[in-house]
Symmetry: C2
Subunit: 407 residues, 2 copies
């Protein structure tokens, strides 16, 4: 085995602590993926550590202190020393991207920042790497989870903006001072980064116009529902004839729009180009462990491009006996007691019914139900018994149902 990759960690807040846990807890997996383990060589916080010493003793720097002044100085020093840097700092990349990319290129090293935009959603990787040098025509997304939670809450409960914001704060989706999130400034910084990468254009933060969601009224959402629309705070970067636009604004989407189904604190970004049509990536926009996982992905990419051999564990059994929920469609004769008899057979096999639709009369009678998750063999046994009932006009049909609830 090779020497460990020595990580200099700047900042030990929520994300920094989660990264320390990941690096320690996933040591065997990291070693299998990269051919070498990772270790934290030093940590810089306001109360401990010396940056120059940490830099000298590290192979790579992870910047998680936030803010722009100190962060810029440390990141530049690391890149100039030829050491790759991973950061989750969107303000840093949005404001000083040109300077930092130039420093990385001059020193022949890397700057990675997947966690700076849309948390664990791999949008930076998708734009920079997935489609080669395809020139994008448009990038749009929901890149602020706080505002998407608030708008989802207002739409689903009829709450006012203030009520929904309080709820977001209670649940930890909004900070005590939510200004940068709700006025669109946070989304604007992320869109400046995405526009720069997608269009290879020197977009600066002051070129991104933004509006927030503070003045959205509950009845805007009520009318929108009547019109079949959903409201999102959208960032849009578009290449037009003669130039480009980068903007953040609340807007309504029709149901067929790829971002219309994105609800709660989730983020999602769609990229478009003639060669790829459109590709959307979505997932949780924030959270310590999620952001740390994105940082770890960047670290592993620095060590190994990701295309090498694939480690394989010793034999893992592939199981047959699994559980499912089912839709069951029965064409039955219209006589009393059919439902009771079917329900009895299901129940005695341990299968419980979630919903039933009984339809038609005489030769058209049908019993359509969804049963809760149960062992598949129990369900199949019950269906075999049901198939033998005198009332059946044709063999039972069934299709699995994914029953679980998502965010």
């Amino acid at each position: 085995m090779s020497d460990p990759l020595k990580i200099g960690l700047l900042g030990r807040g929520t994300v920094g602590s989660a990264l320390e846990e990941l690096v320690a807890g996933r040591r065997p997996e990291i070693e299998a993926a990269c051919g070498r383990p990772f270790e934290i060589a030093g940590v810089l916080t306001t109360s401990e550590g010396d940056f120059d010493q940490i830099l000298a003793e590290s192979d790579v720097i992870v910047e998680l202190i936030g803010g722009v002044d100190d962060a810029r100085r440390y990141v530049l020093a690391a890149l100039e020393a030829g050491k790759p840097v991973v950061t989750a700092n969107k303000q840093l990349v949005a404001r000083y991207g040109d300077e930092l990319f130039a420093a990385a290129a001059a020193a022949g090293t890397e700057l990675r920042f997947e966690a700076a935009v849309a948390g664990v959603v791999p949008i930076i990787r998708t734009i920079r790497e997935a489609f080669g040098s395809v020139p994008f025509t448009r990038v749009f997304g929901i890149v602020n989870g706080t505002t998407n939670f608030i708008l989802t809450e207002m739409a689903s409960t009829g709450a006012s903006y203030e009520e929904a914001l309080s709820r977001a704060q209670e649940l930890g989706y909004a900070e005590a001072d939510p200004t940068e999130d709700v006025n669109g400034a946070d989304a604007a910084a992320k869109m400046a980064i995405l526009a720069r990468l997608a269009f290879h254009a020197p977009v600066t933060l002051d070129q991104v116009s933004f509006e927030g969601i503070e003045s959205v009224q509950p009845d805007d959402l009520a009318y929108a529902r009547e019109l079949g629309l959903s409201l999102k705070l959208l960032g849009v970067a578009e290449r037009l004839e003669g130039g480009l636009t980068v903007r953040v604004f609340p807007c309504f989407l029709y149901p067929g729009h790829p971002l219309a189904p994105v609800e709660g604190p989730f983020n999602a970004v769609t990229v478009e180009a003639p060669e790829i049509t459109e590709v959307t990536v979505s997932g949780p926009g924030a959270g310590g462990p999620q952001t740390a996982a994105a940082v770890l992905g960047d670290l592993i990419s620095i060590v190994d491009g990701g295309g090498g051999g694939e480690p394989v564990e010793s034999e893992i059994p592939v199981l047959d006996a699994v559980e499912s929920s089912f839709y069951l469609h029965l064409e039955v004769e219209d006589v009393p007691g059919v439902l009771a008899e079917v329900a009895r057979l299901l129940s005695s096999a341990g299968v419980s019914v979630r919903s039933v639709v009984q339809k038609g009369m005489g030769d058209e009678a049908r019993l359509v139900m969804v049963v809760h998750r149960c062992p598949e063999d129990a369900f199949l046994t019950a269906v075999a018994e049901i198939a033998g009932l005198d009332y059946m006009r044709s063999p039972p049909r069934f299709i699995r149902v994914i029953e679980e609830e998502f965010v």
Copy 2:
């Protein structure tokens, strides 16, 4: 500038030809991204080229001939010669993945195959690279565009399976012999690959159980709609206590499921792990240019990990004047002629109305409308005039609407 990257191209069908066009047409962008241009050093088809000569003259091999016997021989020979390989061949990777990964690792080179699963959707990259060594608990997806198109067609038009299949064939979404698509075998090969990567488990093709969609009836879809469900052919790979399962089957999804909104020939895959919650990637599942873009992305990743400096073009103007569709909310007095007057002011500014809802009476009267896409300054001029009307009980409110239709 460095020497060009010499590509040995095996196969010149739809994808191979599209790749030749991309490599020639995007030469400046590729050179800017990688620091070196790409060139096709040789092409092997049934009527031209000699494999050994092409291998000797190439830096990297792109395998697009399909089938497994010749493809396996060529890819192994290339890897053993230490040359990286990019392939779009799902059967090859699903059947001989172990052998090929071992050969790549032994020679210290790379095997990349983003285009083998879900076309341009960057799911291989997401699983292998985005989250470091996070162990996934579940991977599920819609990985066959033909069947998703057929199910969407049946659900939206009430067509029978046979009618929907004919329509898919007319539109080029299904092949003349659709067997491997509709019986689930194609999806099974893709799920074997995804399960192997996600769980680092030696999953073989014969361990993946699969069912197809041939027996789905239109009234299953009609009842599903009543129950609020949508039908998809899903691949599910799950890590359970004691082992794992990899299966492909038609199933119903509740509306909150991340894959429920995926319609038509699109693909989408969700990966889950405690550290990341869930992340979904979606986009077109097939198509020559799309698949070629995924191959090009793999080629660029082989040359450059993607984290270096970012090229920036000379200044591109950031534009202000843009067009939007708008929602307009007016609290008005309930007197005759309000709608006519508002419509006249919009119309004379060149703004046309898409839909109107008129609500309430007396002090509650509201006029809520959506207008078609128009220059933003024209709309703002009209709104300023409307704000000056005597009938207005409060200032007009407006929110942008994304009007365009998606697949």
